[in-house]
């Protein structure tokens, strides 16, 4: 018979996830712990989550703690997910960015929860399609994620048949992918446009450098409000006055930070608000 998860064990697991990744697990989400950590229990030959929590309380368990965080992180991703943010990026954000950055300059785009790389590579394909417009400007795409396994897949740029059919138009498949049976691999020229690295959004963002455009979609929903505020304000500090932030459709900055303001008529797209003293009165520099 399975022993129910004790309050102490729950506190250990939920505490580890919150402090290390920002992920909030309530009592109503115990089933998530049970389903996502089952492979770790098997591998470690542990009878249940109580035993796992007990093990995590001992010294020298850093690799196990990392595996728990990896397993609990949602890695759902697909190409051109939700479509609209990518349409906005292609038709509005990119032309505007190029107009504001003279030829010969560099810009940077951050895919802040890159998972297995589909978002970063979707942006890279849009840039490849816009080569004539971009000219000799350099645009760097940086994909980061806390989970290592999906990041390794992102670097490989290899996807299953199922994955290349989720959101990816067939013309893009023909143009930018090669069949490497049974999978599909994104071509080297696109892979080279994006770099991927392990990074915790709760960490110090400054070493990552400045970003003109940030995609941080469907991540904040897993954080509590103070963590959302902290992450968003740290992001704003890494962005120029005309910087743009894309959040997921169910996410918002309203009531969380005044360092970003929604672009009128654009769901999920936010401009940086620059002057802290005048935040309430200022529209983002991007408007108008």
């Amino acid at each position: 018979m399975t022993i129910p998860l004790s309050a102490t064990a729950f506190a250990t697991l939920a505490g580890l996830l919150k402090t290390r990744s920002g992920l909030i697990i309530g009592q109503d989400k115990v089933y998530l712990l049970e389903t996502r950590l089952v492979s770790i229990l098997r591998r470690e030959k542990l009878p249940d989550l109580n035993a796992l929590a007990d093990r995590l309380g001992r010294p020298g368990v850093e690799p196990l703690a990392r595996d728990v965080i990896d397993a609990m992180t949602t890695n759902e991703s697909f190409f051109f997910r939700d479509d609209k943010p990518f349409q906005h990026f292609r038709l509005q954000a990119l032309p505007r960015l190029l107009a504001a950055r003279p030829p010969g300059t560099s810009s940077r785009i951050w895919s802040a929860a890159a998972s297995s790389g589909q978002e970063a590579y979707s942006l890279a394909m849009i840039l490849a399609e816009s080569k004539a417009l971009i000219g000799d400007r350099k645009i760097e795409i940086v994909g980061t994620d806390i989970a290592r396994e999906p990041l390794a897949r992102a670097k490989e740029g290899q996807y299953t048949q199922f994955e290349v059919q989720r959101g990816l138009p067939v013309q893009m498949l023909m143009k930018y992918f090669k069949k490497e049976d049974p999978n599909w691999r994104i071509e080297a020229a696109i892979r080279q446009m994006a770099q991927f690295r392990e990074f915790n959004l709760l960490g110090d963002l400054r070493p990552l450098g400045r970003f003109d455009i940030v995609f941080c979609r469907n991540v904040l929903i897993y954080f509590d409000q103070p963590t959302k505020t902290r992450v968003l304000e740290a992001m704003a500090a890494q962005m120029p006055p005309d910087g743009l932030l894309y959040l997921g459709g169910a996410e918002t900055v309203l009531g969380i930070t005044s360092r970003f303001a929604p672009l009128p008529g654009e769901r999920g797209v936010y401009g940086v608000v620059t002057a802290p003293a005048e935040r309430q009165a200022l529209a983002p520099a991007w408007v108008g």
Partner: protein, 122 residues
Amino acid sequence: MARNCLVVDDSRIVRKVARRILEANGCAVSEAADGQQALDVCRAGLPDFILLDWNMPVMDGIAFLRALRGEFGADSPAVVFCTTENDMTHIEMAITSGAREYIMKPFDEEILMGKLGQAGLL
């Protein structure tokens, strides 16, 4: 108004699955078991789009697509291949012959409706 879709596949099970998904998403569905039957259906009245298998008896999918384009012109109806053929040669042949999208079996509702949406057919 409901979009009319012709599902062309020699597998009764695939036709049934596709019909269930399409009807649940507001499409009106007709069926054909091979390319020749599909041509006969089209001559009686063109659907808005066609979900087309490749390997079928009597007339296969690519022969049907070429006959359709020859008889009714290049623009309509839109054709989305839905086949077990999953290599680049087949995909390129389908698109250059006038298909708008390409689904590699097995498929589910998310893939089917996503591809139809991308192809502007919903």
